[in-house]
Amino acid sequence: MPQPAATIFLKIYLYRRVVQAKLFIDAHYHQPINLAAIADEAYFSKYHFIRLFKAAYGNTPHQYLMAVRINNAQLLLKTGMPVTDVCYAIGFDSISSFSALFKRITKHSPAVWQQTELKRAAEMKIAPLNFIPNCFAQQNGWTPNRNF
């Protein structure tokens, strides 16, 4: 049976509020974020907000915020930024809690992860063909000419 128009509009309205909250986290992850305040801003009770957010994104707002911070930490670590600077740049105020969370998610400490990535980037500059399936490299004419 089709849903009444009012129900559909309410559902769309709620979705838009949840999406706005997610986009707010995306834009402000590096700042202190009070998730209860976001729920207030979205006109939800905290528990209703968490339930809707988890239904939409598979994680609670707090889990999502932590994931966004670690994703951005990875991007900054790839630039060679010192681990301590990265920690503060993504909104953590404790190196130990940042490192612990980073290790829990990536299985490596930030320093080890960074060294691995910087090494990979350096190799990519020197020998990019090592990172491309040969069939694609050949199709593009990137493989060196060989004399048989």
Partner: protein
């Protein structure tokens, strides 16, 4: 026995613009971004929960793969929306639809209940189209 696909190609009109679309709008991760010489670039991205699948954003350049005429024809075909490259999946279609619309992604079909599932269609910045479906619970 074939067990997996780990690379797939999407032909794009501009790799810089495609990078912005797939990374900043769709939220994909960059897997490999290697310069292959002036104007040549190997760029692959992965959906966030599928790091083993590299999607190669291939520029349509005149060269080994395309002769000049073929490259021009390919560009026209891509920009006209000839190619549909696959089906992406999300946890919640309505939420993802609202988010991508807010980011400026163009949808050619709003979320619709079909007999095979809940689906929307969108285009990338080049004109390639994709289906977006909701993960079955």
């Amino acid at each position: 026995m074939i067990t997996k696909m780990n690379h797939v190609s999407i032909f794009v009109l501009n790799q810089d613009s495609a990078f912005d679309f797939y990374v900043n709008k769709l939220g994909f991760n960059v897997h490999t971004d290697a310069s292959m010489g002036p104007g040549k670039r190997w760029l692959t991205v992965c959906p966030p929960e599928q790091p083993e699948l590299e999607i190669s954003l291939m520029a349509i350049n005149e060269g080994m793969m395309f002769k000049q005429e073929a490259a021009e024809q390919m560009r026209v075909l891509v920009s006209k929306g000839t190619f549909g490259f696959g089906v992406f999946e999300c946890n919640d279609l309505l939420a993802t639809y609202e988010e991508l619309k807010a980011k400026g992604v163009e949808f050619t079909k709003e979320p619709t209940k079909e007999f095979y599932g809940f689906e929307a269609l969108f285009k990338d910045d080049s004109g390639n189209w994709f289906s977006l479906g909701e993960k079955k619970q």
